[in-house]
Symmetry: C2
Subunit: 224 residues, 2 copies
């Protein structure tokens, strides 16, 4: 007896075609999954979903033009239907919390095994969350160790760079571009002192040691 089953429609977005082809090949052996399209940048994802639908979107964070966060944010602001699994090179907890907040259901690090992707697709298609084991552990760890730390580690909802003010983001981005305080003050038309205040607050808010920590944070969160 053959069971009639609606296939799960999957769309893939990643700027590495070779990775896309790989995922397609992995999924091709799954009878209940159908890859309905892919694109190599965020812009094309947005375009595609204007006139098409899919059940699950596998979305890379690091993409040219429009990055994954921006795509997700856009969907989030427009009541999207498809379930989103975020794909990233970094399994950074702050990033994970951020994407969950703006509507992602699953998170996969690229270092995870390919088989996880099948499991992830099936789970999120049912509306369940999916995280790879090591990431689950990481998330738990931060929830445990940081519930007692001072106010500013996690802002209730767990996102972090959303807790930065717009101005702080400006400064952070320029720091990550290797500008020094004087140069930043010139570019933002504010005083050196003000820039220093912002920098100080960033270091404290993000719980890093110095500008190097800020730069790394910015990079990992695709702010540059």
């Amino acid at each position: 007896m053959r069971k009639i089953m609606k296939k799960i429609k999957v769309y893939i977005a990643d700027d590495h075609q070779i990775l896309i082809d790989g995922i397609i090949a992995v999924l091709s052996s799954e009878e209940n999954i159908e890859v309905v399209g892919f694109s190599l940048n965020g812009e094309d994802v947005l375009k595609w979903f204007k006139t098409n639908t899919a059940d699950v979107l596998i979305l890379d964070i690091n993409m040219p033009k429009v990055d994954g966060i921006a795509v997700l944010q856009n969907f989030f602001n427009n009541n999207f239907q498809q379930k989103v699994i975020v794909l990233s090179s970094y399994d950074d907890v702050k990033l994970i919390k951020e994407v969950l907040k703006i509507g992602a259901l699953g998170f996969l690090a690229k270092k995870c095994a390919g088989e996880n992707i099948v499991e992830a697709i099936n789970k999120v298609n049912n509306g369940e969350q999916y995280f790879e084991k090591s990431i689950q552990q990481k998330l738990l760890d931060t929830f445990n160790t940081h519930k007692s730390t001072s106010k500013e580690f996690v802002s209730q909802d767990g996102s972090f760079f959303s807790s930065l003010t717009p101005r702080e983001l400006d400064v952070l981005q320029l720091i990550a571009k290797q500008y020094n305080t004087k140069e930043i003050s010139d570019q933002l038309h504010i005083s050196v002192n003000t820039v220093e205040t912002h920098r100080k607050n960033l270091i404290s808010k993000l719980n890093v040691k110095n500008v190097v920590g800020l730069a790394i944070y910015a990079l990992k969160n695709n702010l540059v």
Copy 2:
């Protein structure tokens, strides 16, 4: 009539398992290709090839512990037999020239289509070089325009840390971990002055402005 054919033995090295699984899936439909192993870092590649052989090695540049360049260099110094196809996120001309010089036969950017990998494997297995079309063009362009560039300068955006000395790498990694000069000197058991010299040389070699630039370079090249 069935032709008896020796399969091409392929070994894959990349720190993203999901990409490895993808490549394996892509290659699984090729009758004359057999994947004989893989690893997630350079160290394991070197170990594996001490006691095993393969015809073709697909080698990612950005890997933790021992990077692709170092692996290739090691093979190069030891008269290796296997043909190497270098895989990289960046299709930087300087990087390509570098890997060719130390014995790679093929070069694939990750943004290339998956089918290219099959072609690449077949070509290099016959001792021929393989480059994806867009890369061929790039190489030609620079050979024409750059016949008179200066000796050796390093990339702005990454991919050339093979020109850094081991000690410089040590220092770079610690900087990217937010350690300051004093802490680094303690950890490496050298004087503060020496660390400062290394830092200075790094900034100059990598053509960045400050420690932030160094950290970004380290991160982009997977050194942390």
